[in-house]
Symmetry: C2
Subunit: 274 residues, 2 copies
């Protein structure tokens, strides 16, 4: 069906934003919409401006025989700050304080909307490090890690607490968990990560950094390197943690069980903690 | 910035498809783009046709004071069949056969692209059952379940193998796992699911159906009901399984370890197994 330019732009916008980071060949679009490649190049250039103005990300054109066009999700600085402030307000809700002074965050970090928005923030902050994989450890970090991987167009790897027969030969490490004070294990299928891979580590929560350190060690066992570490919420103490250079979205300074008081600070400038 | 109609349509398309199932108020769009509500209604109606033609889903208008417009992802019948056939080919890859005759599927079900496409198929199949929540059990089903929840605009619930202090009071059940032949436990935070909830259960793999049966029992403990069960891959045997009425995307009939032969059938018409 031949579409007018108006319709073509909207259809291309829907296709690109529906699968972020996926490279669409211009030839495929040209064929689909029955227009010349140069017409389509004009469309893409116009669409790039429109999406920039909509504030949901940007359109990137990749040159060359394997090139094409793709949508990279991202927020403008102002919207990103507003988002982090809203996330901070949600986390500080007194109703989240649990017996023992823990914070119930599961519903937030598992909500598709929040996981998507925070994953986009992570992706935008990590894109320049040219990662090849996103890694998390089961369980609550998985939605965030998936949405980060989606926004970056990368595979998601999930380390397991125990190696599973259904995942074949695996590489295992042990690490000291600060939360439980115990030595724990973590494993990743041998085939999951090639040597030379550049890995973004994503998790929902960091206290002592033991789990993140375990993931860093696991990556090293594969001959791969860590391109960045991102967590939704990190506690201010203990400091320093077992890993450095991580990016937290919120820093939690105090949870008072009796008064249900939650004290935290959004990391509005996305500064890495040394 | 005032945009022409052409640009407005593309911008609205980008906003709607960027957050599937999220209801956007027409007033907010009208204000943002500086046009009247009736102009915007025309835009939405035109956009609805365009997205229909693009084959990535449909635009729904919800009437009333809390109404608005939203994008519901979905595939045309033909594209859905092609997708399931491609998924079947990927799963049948001889390189996936592991020692013990297991199939390595982790990379597929965790890939953002596949999780997104299969989650959209699940969402489309389950939408009419009017679910309120999507539930899975850790670990490998989480990406699929998240993308299903995202396409439906619903919260994701993750049952844990053990109750965690960081999730507060929880409801636990025990179930017989066919894979391990052992009694296992599963729990969900008390606050996660209200009575009367209608739950879609999602998992990556079903053999005996013990885990799915456990999830069904867990839902019942909350005074909620199961609106549907969806799995990416189910084995043909044993039949019947411990739950009925589930929707598999692929049915696996044989995995031969020696010859690395994988025999399976895509469920092209999305028939429920009784």
């Amino acid at each position: 069906m031949p579409l007018g330019r108006r319709e073509r732009l909207a259809a291309i916008a829907a296709l690109l934003t529906g699968e972020p980071a996926r490279l669409f060949r211009l030839e495929a679009f040209a064929e689909r919409f029955g227009v010349s490649r140069s017409t389509l190049s004009d469309d893409v250039s116009r669409l790039s401006d429109i999406i920039q103005a909509a504030g949901t990300g940007r359109v990137e054109t990749v040159q060359g025989p394997h090139g094409g066009v793709r949508f990279l999700p991202g927020f403008e600085a102002r919207e990103q700050r507003a988002l982090l402030e809203e996330f901070a307000r949600s986390v500080a809700d007194p109703g989240r304080v649990l017996p023992g002074g823990f914070l119930y965050l599961t519903d937030l970090v598992c909500a598709p909307g929040w996981a998507g928005r925070l994953g986009t923030v992570f992706a935008q902050a990590m894109r320049d490090a040219m990662p090849t994989h996103v890694l998390t450890v089961e369980t609550k970090g998985i939605p965030l890690a998936l949405m980060t991987a989606r926004a970056l167009g990368l595979p998601l790897l999930i380390a397991r607490r125990d190696a599973r027969v259904t995942e074949g030969p695996a590489v295992s490490i042990t690490y000291l968990s600060g939360t439980s004070g115990r030595v724990q294990g973590m494993s990743l299928p041998r085939r999951a990560l090639p040597p030379g891979g550049r890995v973004v580590v994503v998790d929902d929560f960091m206290r002592g950094g033991g789990t993140a350190k375990g993931l860093v060690d696991l990556v090293a066992e594969f001959g791969a390197t860590v391109a960045g570490i991102a967590v939704a919420v990190a506690t201010a103490r203990p400091a320093p943690k077992r890993v450095g250079g991580y990016l937290p979205l919120l820093v939690l300074t105090r949870v008072d069980e009796a008064s249900r008081w939650v004290e935290l600070k959004p990391n509005l400038d996305l500064e890495r903690v040394p």
